[in-house]
Symmetry: C2
Subunit: 284 residues, 2 copies
């Protein structure tokens, strides 16, 4: 069952004049809920605030958001909350409305049925044709302009492929359609620089902080296809999946049959354990 | 008064699960209505179809769209229709829903109060800091991912500035935030190539076709700031404004006070007359 709260009230429709619909003029967060506990809530709300600030959307009340989010959670083992904040209604046209406002839309979904084997045996990854466009003013923000991700995700139907990597126009590998990418190269953790495109993931940041604490060095840098060829471990992160080890990468060269295999490596394992511990901690 | 028809029924709300809201997953058209006649309706619907095809959104019924659009128009001197077609509802996530569908949202607005002097004395134009990002798969489509235009339009409040030009990341001048750009250089009409970004405007195409008929040569090419320095005439087009001559361009160099003045030139004048004739023809 889906439940929706809009500006504090149960409701399943929004105004057809909302700028979220007309222009993708808003930001969103996708949160994992475990037995009534919203994981990394503070970090998600902080990113939401930063996104609003960068897009000059009036800040929603954090108190209201927390209350509304909690009103939707129940004691299910796992569920998903999506928080959308748009710039609200407003006249026709791109110009910001004179009366700054926003709309808060919070939706509870069932947790997706990701196979449990993904965590133990790893996932298969492909490389998408659809590119991410570079724009520093939008980079990092989890905004509502997501056509590039939709086109990328529409490239494959094969259920055995869990995710697709997206490159920018300069053949830099940036992230997955719904996840951030990490490599381990000679015991160093590597993830893509997101200064020109991509979404600055909450779990991506948590993994970077955790690596720091564990004494694992990391680089936030340009990642090329060649780095995938030499990587010892590869994994993906997002708020729902946590950490997925990657054990197979398809189409790495123009030869359609080309693929690379990876093992679920020790650094990936340590980080997965660390994330599990953190989630358990947040459940208390 | 605003009137809205959604999938054939008067209604002013859409589902909070619509992919138009969640991802900007849709296309739109903005149409000028003159005394009950929708200008360039066929061309707008054709572009809408092309946009749906490129984004793999199921084609809406053209018959239904025409009927719904006409149900909203009245005999006001001028009004605006906006047609939005989204990929409809669907589960959470970027993946295309299994059951392909769409939602048709048609809204009538009052016509914007553009000063009549804009047509006789021309408009003032500025150059925006916000860039357009390049992505050939989305270029030309009037889709619902419009954050770049919103950020660009938010750069100025000065009511004397009618429009802002946007460049891509390589300093090519592409278009205005809501209009296409034309220059006249040594009796040749010039407009920006839109293969990597921009919206392929209906009036832009009409002007190109009209120029052809009038024996005015044209180039669809890369436009740089330097071309604005040497241009004899400059004008903007969109479906609501028609053709606005540009008589002042601000901030052409890093010196904030820099500006160029243009005259309302003969080629602009001929094209404006041609468009007026065409609108009168469509009114019959």
């Amino acid at each position: 069952m889906i439940n929706i709260v809009i500006n504090g009230k149960p409701c399943d429709t929004i105004s057809a004049l909302d700028r979220g619909l007309h222009y993708g003029d808003g930001v969103f967060e996708t949160l994992k809920v475990v037995r009534g506990h919203i994981m990394f809530l503070e970090q998600h709300l902080q990113r939401l605030q930063q996104g609003c600030e960068r897009l000059r959307i009036p800040q929603p009340s954090m108190e209201a958001l927390v209350q509304e989010a909690n009103s939707l959670v129940n004691d299910e083992a796992k569920s998903v909350l999506k928080i959308i904040v748009t710039r609200g209604g407003g006249g026709r046209g791109y110009r910001l409305p004179d009366n700054a406002r926003n709309n808060r839309i919070i939706i509870r979904y069932a947790f997706p049925g990701y196979p449990q084997t993904y965590y133990r045996q790893g996932v298969t990854l492909r490389i998408c044709d659809q590119r991410l466009s570079a724009n520093a003013t939008l980079a990092g923000i989890k905004h509502l302009n997501r056509l590039e991700q939709i086109l990328a995700r529409s490239e494959w139907q094969d259920e055995s492929i869990a995710e697709g990597l997206m490159m920018d126009q300069e053949d830099n590998i940036i992230e997955g359609t719904m996840s951030n990418l990490f490599l381990v190269n000679e015991d160093r953790l590597v993830t893509s620089d997101l200064k020109n495109c991509g979404v600055a993931g909450i779990i991506r940041q948590f993994v970077l902080d955790m690596a720091q604490e564990m004494g694992i060095s990391h680089d936030i840098t340009v990642v090329k296809k060649e780095d995938l060829l030499t990587a010892g471990e590869v994994f993906l992160t997002n708020s729902l999946i946590g950490i997925w080890p990657v054990t197979k990468l398809l189409h790495i060269s123009t030869q359609k049959s080309s693929q690379i295999d990876y093992k679920v490596g020790p650094i990936t394992g340590r980080l997965m354990q660390g994330l599990t511990r953190e989630e358990a901690r947040q459940e208390v």
